[in-house]
């Protein structure tokens, strides 16, 4: 059974249509990144999956149940965008409360505190926590009770690079355990190797939904080849190959995917003049801009 089934879902607030005709399925063990500008409808989509707000049209099924039903809520782990807790409680108290509600064991709380690196701070009041620490408590509560579907809204905001890395390891473990993971993020670079599929939303519509390689192929954005030479040769070689100077000793070329090998052949044929070559396929940022149909780049 698919973990999450979204059929032609729309959401309308008066005349404003924030989500429109979205189709998306997520299978067990799949990690999907949901991208989009602020206001693209990502959070609204998540809120509909959680049953916090009703769908205006279409239907959503979480493990076969209606969103917001007790069984659906029992199998979802959710990390809200700006997660908050009662400041008078300690991290451990807050997590224990959530564990009871999810019928998870108290040992699971200690394990998760350890997993997110908060064991030492667990008995301090949450009001003394930094943003990153609150985010980690948020992540820990989303993992309580082994969710079948993890909905993570901007999960890595406030986390430092090492914790981000840790976070994706946790996501990997979740997926390996058969959970479906749907996460939204603005930090595009880290998603490239850490997710199975990319879904891009723009103005309430799902404009792309595929594995990264396939998205690259469909978009057929140019590949950038950065070439480094000796300083004295750079102008001559750049002119010969038709590249644009980048700095004192390197320039860049662009080519299409089907033209890549031929271009590389031309460069390497120049022999010892070339010191280094760097091949960059279209980045997720570029793909994202391509599919969301804007060159503003968003946030």
């Amino acid at each position: 059974m698919t973990t999450l089934q979204i059929n032609n879902v729309g959401k309308r607030y008066g005349p404003l249509e924030t989500v429109c005709g979205v189709n998306l399925t997520v299978a067990p063990g799949e990690r999907i990144a949901l991208l989009g500008h602020n206001g693209a409808g990502k959070t609204t989509l998540m809120r509909m999956i959680l049953g916090l707000t009703p769908v205006s049209s279409g239907s959503i099924r979480v493990l076969g149940s209606a969103p917001g039903s007790r069984s659906a809520r029992g199998s979802i782990g959710f990390l809200p965008e700006s997660v908050a807790f009662h400041g008078a409680l300690s991290g451990r108290e807050q997590l224990r409360h959530f564990a009871r509600l999810k019928s998870a064991s108290m040992n699971a709380v200690d394990d998760l505190l350890d997993r997110v690196g908060l064991t030492d701070a667990a008995d301090r009041k949450i009001r003394t926590y930094s943003k990153g620490m609150r985010q980690r408590i948020g992540l820990a509560q989303a993992l309580l009770g082994k969710p079948k579907l993890a909905l993570l809204d901007e999960p890595t905001s406030g986390l430092d690079p090492i914790l981000r890395h840790e976070f994706y390891d946790i996501v990997q473990e979740l997926a390996d355990g058969g959970a479906a993971v749907l996460l939204s993020s603005h930090a595009l670079t880290e998603l490239e190797t850490r997710t199975d599929r990319i879904a891009i939303m723009s103005k309430g519509k799902l404009v792309a939904n595929d594995a990264l390689v396939n998205l690259r192929e469909q978009a057929s954005l140019p590949i950038r080849v950065n070439v480094t030479t000796m300083q004295k040769d750079v102008d001559r070689v750049a002119a010969q190959l038709g590249g644009a100077r980048m700095n004192g000793c390197s320039f860049s070329l662009t080519c299409r995917q089907d033209d890549k090998i031929a271009t590389l052949g031309k460069v390497t044929a120049l022999g010892e003049v070339i010191k280094d070559i760097d091949v960059n396929p279209a980045s997720l940022e570029e793909l994202y801009r391509h599919y969301s149909g804007t060159n503003q780049g968003g946030e």
């Binding site: 049953g51 916090l52 809520r73 979802i76 959710f78 807790f85 008078a88 409360h97 009871r100 509600l101």
Partner: protein, 273 residues
Amino acid sequence: MMSIFYVAQLELLIARRNMWVATSVILMALFSVVLTLAGGAPTGSLGVDPLMVAVTSITTLSVYLIPLIGLLLSFDAIAGEAERGTLALSLTYPLSRGEILIGKFLAHFAVLSFAVAVGLLLTAGLTIARYGAGDLSFMPLAKLFVTSLALGAAFLGVGYIVSAKVRQTGVASGIVILIWLICVVLYDLGLLGALVADGGGTFTKSIFPWLLVANPADAFRLINMSAETVSDLASGISAAGGVSGLVGQLTSLLLWPVFALFAAWLAFRKIEP
């Protein structure tokens, strides 16, 4: 069902941390002690039950204090969570809004009950220490305790309604203070004005008694102020109490918590966090 107790447990912890428990208990204890000691002074050996005197003065005070404590405990319950941003996450857990509301109510009700119990036990203790337990009748004290809890529960419910309707703690706190002022002061003043204007007509005889008892604070006052102790002070009020009767007063006190909690639940269900 267990979720209710988990929520109540957490709310009790929060109430303790926020000093709500300590504040309520100190407030009730302080006033009960002062009124018991001061109330005992003039009776001397006139033959009036000293506990009865204490109960009467504590009733007068409880009419103001218990609704206030009830509203202060409850106004933040939903608005506070909505404002802090903890509500959305709570609502994604597998428990219903009714369970959340009842859980919070149980915790706040426990705090209130504890404060009232401490105050009244101090009153009983002090009176016994002074006059001995022999001739005292403890029924009025028990009645005061039970009706105080009903009064508190009614205003807890009213506080939740406000909290769910406005969703901003600042606004909610202003509104509950206004409600408090209306229920314990302005409502009676208004009725008094109407009485004077009516001059003993139909309003005074058949409408006024029911309007009086419709306010839980007045129903509470009527139940606890027996005719003999208040006859000199407020013969009009006890006469009015006679019309609605104990049944009317009890109905008002017991229906208010149920009605208010139900209305709060309806308002809470409408919230999209």
